[in-house]
């Protein structure tokens, strides 16, 4: 799991305590995935239990210091060497919704698609603004943060292109009579009625994946 391995990788640069690790993780990932401090401590407990790190005691200022072990270093090298493979295929809430929409009579699929397209574009506007506000790439952490933002941009862009494709395919199918025409009175919820969280379907999906893989770990 990426939080576990990220903390291990940070510890290869020297002993650290919990809050320090959280701050470094967030700085290096452009503060895109805020880390709960409770999650940091449970992860450290588990890493210690598995012999990947060791508790070096209090630093005198009330911080419990952890250091990486040889087994921990090997595990980190392994992580970098292995490709990241999300559960295949990753659960895609949007693809599921569209698949069900297309096959449910009376749903205005074009409207579902447009609501999502607007929401994703708003998210893209926000990420683009965040990218513009980063002051270049003078430090490695700045570059890392920029690359994380770029990954959000590429994901949103791909989603919009996929939506455009879906829309064209749905229109073509409707014209050739494969899909029933939508009666004007029946329609999907208006875009405004959608919760703002759907503005970032991809990152929301990511955090859900984190949660479920954690539960599998236990």
């Amino acid at each position: 799991m990426s939080v576990k391995h990220s903390l291990l990788a940070l510890l290869t640069q020297g002993p650290r305590y919990g809050y320090h690790l959280r701050a470094e993780f967030e700085e290096r990932t452009g503060s895109t995935w805020p880390l709960n401090i409770g999650q940091v401590y449970t992860t450290l407990d588990r890493l210690e239990r598995d012999g990947l790190i060791e508790d070096q005691g209090d630093d005198g200022a009330g911080h419990r210091i952890y250091a990486i072990t040889e087994a921990g270093r090997a595990e980190t090298e392994d992580w970098f060497a292995q490709p990241s493979r999300p559960s295949n295929p990753p659960r895609n809430e949007l693809a599921i919704k569209l698949a069900i929409a297309v096959t449910t009579p009376g749903v205005d699929v074009e409207r579902v698609i447009q609501a999502q397209r607007s929401a994703t574009l708003r998210a893209l506007q926000d990420v683009t603004r965040a990218k513009r506000s980063t002051g270049g790439e003078s430090r490695p952490a700045d570059l890392a943060g920029l690359l994380v933002l770029e990954s959000l941009i590429f994901t949103a862009e791909a989603e919009i292109r996929w939506l455009d494709h879906c829309e064209a395919a749905v229109l073509r199918a409707a014209r050739s009579g494969q899909l029933p025409a939508v009666p004007a009175a029946v329609s999907a919820p208006a875009p405004a009625a959608m919760p703002s969280r759907t503005a970032v379907p991809t990152t929301a999906g990511t955090s859900r994946r984190h949660t479920s893989s954690q539960q599998k770990d236990r």
Partner: protein
């Protein structure tokens, strides 16, 4: 543990030090389309390219227009730039109704206030890059030396100052496209209309052009960009979606830094 730190979005570095004159005043409308329709042809070949479109672009605002091909994007831009006339409805540029202007007055308004990037560039092959950019200024009475200086600055902004003396047929498609963009941004135009201005550009150059348009908007211009690239529309304050000649939806930037963040990892 609550109070998870989330980063705040600082002012971006392109923010001009001198704010547009609009600050603290009601927004100044640069462009307004009021119930605009456009019909091409007649009889059985009639095409309704735009249907009752309302759109307002304020000073300092960057608006992107997206839609499938044939949805009316180029028609909308051509009408806004006074290159063609509406079938119904009215278009106001800085408050002036275009229908009230003579052909000559319209041409002058276009030269002074409107920068237009054509989908097919529309450059003059017998002139070099600098001359293509400076010509509209000179036609408008700007002294040649000053016009050339402004033209060179515009070419610098789009990253091709070293090609200033090349003739158009000595330039690649992407370089020609950048000359066309330079011509549209030269001389602090109040309204910039760009029809798919990045089609021939690689993605990094395309982003540079977005930064140029963003700067013009931040300095007080109204900018309308037709694009099919979502990543470029992401630079806009507002995205207008066209379908079959109608505005079907608009997406406005939320300016909410939290909206782009996932829930904290627990």
């Amino acid at each position: 543990m609550t109070g998870v730190a989330r980063h705040s979005i600082p002012q971006h570095p392109l923010e001009p030090t001198v704010r547009p004159v609009t600050q603290g005043m009601p927004p100044r409308q640069i462009l307004e389309l009021h119930q605009v329709s456009k019909v091409y042809g007649d009889g059985i070949t009639v095409v309704a390219a735009l249907r009752e479109v309302d759109l307002t672009v304020n000073a300092g605002e960057f608006v992107a227009v997206m839609g499938p091909s044939g949805s009316g994007k180029s028609s909308l831009l051509a009408l806004a730039g006074g290159l063609d006339s509406t079938s119904q409805g009215e278009i106001y540029v800085r408050g002036t109704p275009l229908s009230a202007l003579s052909t000559a007055e319209r041409a002058r308004l276009r030269r002074r206030a409107v920068g237009y990037v054509f989908q097919d560039y529309n450059l003059i092959p017998t002139l070099n890059a600098t001359e293509n950019v400076s010509l509209p200024l000179e036609l408008d009475g700007v002294k040649p030396a000053k016009a050339q200086r402004q033209a060179k600055d515009a070419l610098r902004q789009v990253g091709i100052e070293d090609l200033a003396n090349r003739f158009i047929d000595e330039l690649s498609g992407g370089q020609q496209q950048r000359v066309a963009i330079a011509r549209a941004i030269v001389g602090d135009k109040a309204l910039i209309l760009a029809d798919e201005p990045t089609g021939a550009l690689d993605s990094v150059t395309g982003e540079e052009i977005m930064a140029v348009l963003r700067r013009r908007a931040d300095a007080g211009a109204g900018v309308v960009l037709v694009t099919h690239e979502a990543r470029h529309a992401g630079w806009a304050d507002r995205v207008v979606f066209l379908r079959d000649g109608r505005v079907v939806d608009q997406a406005t930037a939320q300016n909410d830094p939290h909206s782009l963040l996932a829930d904290p990892i627990r």
